[in-house]
């Protein structure tokens, strides 16, 4: 028996309604770890040969929900949602906090593979070894909160009835989609609990395309045994004690950044990134705190950090609105990026994104894009049906609804910023890429690069395996190694970025899984192997979009405009510098002049078959 994981994946085919257990062997686990890495491997094995033909929203795509060997052991429960992304047409390892991964493991599985498409709305109910594909017509069309409420209630009352005794049973853990996912909106998230979401990648749309409204799981067993129980308990104590020290993070979460990233680092998106500086102290964390935060510490399984705060508005026109913090990303994307500078407005729009099942970052990016088109007279009142002025919370909420339900112009915006820019550009006969702040189909996270003061360096998004994803950036670290290699480890072990402490994680690998992973092994083998496949799949792309690294390994055009305001006024990055840095990055990553993983490197990593697939990319690039 392996330690820390079971070697068992639950595989469901929705077309045939069949269920089986698929084994994962030790060497695969050791090489690909779990989560993002294992996902990339499974997708490559199963779809690599015909990747370009696989429609991310068609029956051939595979939805993967994967834990990692540290899930449940390392503080902060998370699970990785992946598949072929309807945003980047590559693979995005999208992780979400909560107890789902732990429940799944307690049910005896390391993950879930969902194939095919159901004929009508269904949900999956996994209770240890019993797996049921069930009708979901009663929750189809329901918003997030109602979906969760109805499912929790019905499953819990069913579990209670099954019990011969009067003891109370705990709730199952549920992943679900809101209306946006059902309507195959490419910027739809997969949600957990309330206000928890796997946003990047657009896997809510993948669930919707499979008519899969939700997945509920209850595992009554223990987590797998660990390799070194005593060392593990000590390691757990140590890391928890150390994490509990991060006072500011615990107290404010990422919320204080809503002010500081604007005021101090000048890297916060404002009005679709036309500016990145603000000094609105009334948007600081103390205002959120005193007006709308109702719960300071809310943590996922085992977490001493609890970055998530709960916000609720108890007064005025947005009364009753409940959401998280909003965390920094949404303070920025559903606040400043839309010219909204009152906490209530951001909380309202963030809760709306939750209810509709939209990714808050992506929809904030797309709303900002649309508002700039309105500002420039490219989108008009006739196109929208109403005015879309900066700071107008109600209009943005209305547009969110239209996106989630694909109504009017919302149908186009539902394709996400990149595809909407192409479509509206064609409609209006203008190039809209200067206003589309995205990389490879993914709106960039709320950390700009122009001021040079944030953690995001000039190539942060340029070579990222996950496009604009701010949690998977392609910086070079202080030892001149790709920072994304370490992020691959984080997403494959499936631990939380905020809880990641290098020494502790390596210690956990040893104590939990019995793996002696050295930093050297990570940087020379494990991460480059996963990265090479992920890069290959990204560049294979298709069927509706293909990336050309010569053009698309680049920043959004906006990032080459000088910052117009603030202490960093005039700051920008230069295209030629970025190109130079990009060459260095390619070199370090083991990629050739096209940005394709080198054949020799692939051979060394034992994945030479990836090289053959890359021939297809090379051909495309040479003929275009």
């Amino acid at each position: 028996m392996p330690y820390g994981w079971w070697g068992r994946l639950l595989e469901v085919d929705l077309s045939t309604k069949s269920v089986k257990v698929t084994k994962v062997d030790r060497s695969t686990m050791r090489r690909y770890i779990g989560g993002r890495g294992l996902g990339v491997k499974i997708l490559w094995d199963r779809l690599g040969r015909k990747w370009e033909e696989v429609d991310p929203l068609g029956p051939d795509n595979i939805l993967l929900i994967l834990t990692g060997p540290l899930t449940g052991y390392y503080p902060g429960g998370r699970v990785c949602v992946t598949g072929k992304s309807p945003q980047s047409n590559g693979v995005v390892g999208s992780t979400v906090g909560g107890e789902f991964g732990v429940e799944l493991k307690c049910a005896g599985y390391d993950g879930l593979i969902v194939n095919g498409v159901a004929e009508k709305p269904i949900y999956l109910w996994i209770e240890d070894e019993e797996v049921d594909v069930r009708d979901a017509s009663h929750i189809w069309g329901k918003d997030s909160r109602e979906t969760l409420r109805v499912l929790t209630k019905e499953l819990r009352s069913e579990m209670s009835k099954e019990r011969p005794l009067s003891d109370v049973c705990k709730e199952p853990s549920i992943l679900y989609v809101g209306p946006a996912g059902e309507n195959k909106v490419r910027i739809a998230a997969v949600a957990a609990k309330i206000t928890h979401a796997a946003g990047y990648g657009g896997y809510g749309a993948v669930m919707g395309s499979k008519m899969l409204k939700a997945i509920a799981v209850k595992g009554t067993g223990p987590l797998p045994e660990v390799a070194e129980p005593d060392v593990f308990e000590k390691a757990l104590d140590d890391v928890c004690k150390s994490l509990a020290q991060s006072f500011m993070m615990r107290y404010w979460g990422t919320g204080s950044a809503g002010y500081t990233v604007g005021a101090d680092t000048s890297s916060e998106p404002i009005r679709n990134w036309q500016e990145e500086w603000h000094d609105e102290t009334k948007y600081g964390s103390s205002f959120f705190e005193s007006k709308v935060w109702i719960k300071r510490f809310w943590g996922d399984f085992g977490c001493p950090t609890t970055c998530l705060k709960l916000a609720m508005i108890k007064y005025g026109k947005f009364k009753g609105t409940l959401t998280d913090n909003p965390d920094y990303e949404l303070q920025a994307y559903l606040g400043t990026n839309l010219g909204v500078f009152e906490p209530e407005g951001g909380v309202y729009l963030s809760a709306k994104a939750d209810d509709l099942g939209l990714c808050g970052i992506q929809v904030g990016n797309t709303l900002g894009f649309a508002a700039e088109l309105y500002q420039r007279g490219i989108l008009t009142k006739e196109d929208l049906g109403f005015e879309l002025k900066w700071g107008d919370v109600e209009s943005f909420a209305r547009l969110q609804e239209m996106i989630a339900h694909r109504i009017g112009i919302g149908d186009v915006l539902a394709e996400g910023t990149y595809r909407a820019a192409l479509k509206i550009g064609k409609m209006k006969n203008v190039n809209l890429m200067p206003y589309a702040v995205q990389v490879k189909g993914i709106g960039v996270g709320a950390h700009g690069i122009r001021s040079g003061l944030d953690y995001t360096k000039p190539t942060a998004y340029v070579c990222s395996l996950q496009g604009g994803d701010h949690t998977s950036v392609s910086n070079l670290d202080e030892k001149n190694r790709p920072e994304e290699w370490e992020i691959i480890l984080i997403d494959s072990a499936v631990v939380c970025w905020f809880n990641f402490r290098k020494e502790h994680v390596y210690r956990f690998f040893k104590a939990v899984a019995g793996w002696n992973i050295s930093e050297d092994e990570l940087y020379s083998e494990t991460a480059p192997r996963i990265a090479a496949i992920q890069r290959a799949l990204l560049l294979l792309g298709g069927p509706d979009v293909y990336w050309d690294p010569r053009v698309d390994d680049d920043n959004p055009l906006r990032f080459y405009e000088p910052l117009p305001s603030g202490p960093k006024k005039g700051a920008t990055v230069k295209k030629e510098d970025v190109d130079k840095l990009k060459r260095i990055y390619y070199e370090v990553a083991g990629w050739d002049e096209y940005g394709l993983p080198r054949v020799e490197a692939l051979e060394k990593l034992g994945i030479s078959e990836v090289g053959k697939a890359l021939e297809r990319v090379k051909q495309r690039l040479q003929t275009s």
Binding site: G72, Y73, P75, E99, V102, C106, L148, R149, T152, K153, R156, P164, L165, S166, D167, V168, K170, E171, K193, I194, G219, T220, G221, P222, L223, E225, P229, E233, L236, C240, K241, A244, R250, I294, K295, F297, W298, G299, D300, F301, G302, C303, P304, T306, L310, M312, K314, G320, L322
Partner: protein
């Protein structure tokens, strides 16, 4: 308070619980199951955290009712009181898993072990509660170890999580959430 101090039952402890402070981190479940089962096993933890309404998690554990209805209900004398701490101890050899203690408990605190046929009840860890240690270490302080007095309203804590959370929801989230569960 002065009167109560006089009535302090020597060396007996109680686990104070403040639901509003609970972060839902479930570190108590992790610690309790590691100690008693040697594994991380939320469903077998003597303290179980219920998330019937997200954001309002309820750590659910025995409160040591002064009249111990569970003990009187047991037909097999499987339950006894730990002289030292006041905890309910389960004799797993005598316990048949009949569930009479659960019926008798106003809070439906005991449950049958998910793999074995015996009841599971908090044993106060012999006086050094693991759940309290980790909860305090994390700074949440939702569970605290306090001295036990003879005259305190301990029994009111023996309530079903669905009832506790309904009240809490009214207070924290408002009326709209009353019908959630």
């Amino acid at each position: 308070m002065g009167v109560c101090v006089l009535n302090e039952e020597k060396a007996k402890i109680w686990i104070f619980r403040d639901y509003e402070r609970c972060s839902g981190c479930r570190r108590c479940e992790i610690a309790c199951s590691l100690k008693h089962e040697g594994r991380i096993w939320p469903e077998a933890s003597r303290v179980r955290v219920f998330m019937l309404i997200p954001g309002l998690e309820i750590p659910h554990l025995c409160t040591q009712c002064p009249d111990y209805p569970c003990i009187s209900a047991c037909l097999f004398k499987a339950l006894t009181i730990d002289e030292k701490t006041g905890a309910v101890l389960v004799d797993v050899d005598k316990c048949t898993g009949c569930g009479k203690c659960i019926d008798a408990c106003p809070g439906k605190v005991p449950f049958i072990h998910p793999r074995m046929r015996y009841a599971v009840i908090c044993d106060l860890c012999g006086g050094e509660p693991e759940c309290v240690r980790v909860c305090m270490e994390a700074g949440y302080n939702a569970l605290l170890k306090v001295p036990r007095f003879a005259t305190q309203a301990y029994k009111v804590y023996a309530r079903k999580p669905e009832d506790i959370v309904k009240d809490l929801a009214l207070k924290v989230y408002g009326e709209e959430w009353e019908g959630w569960i």
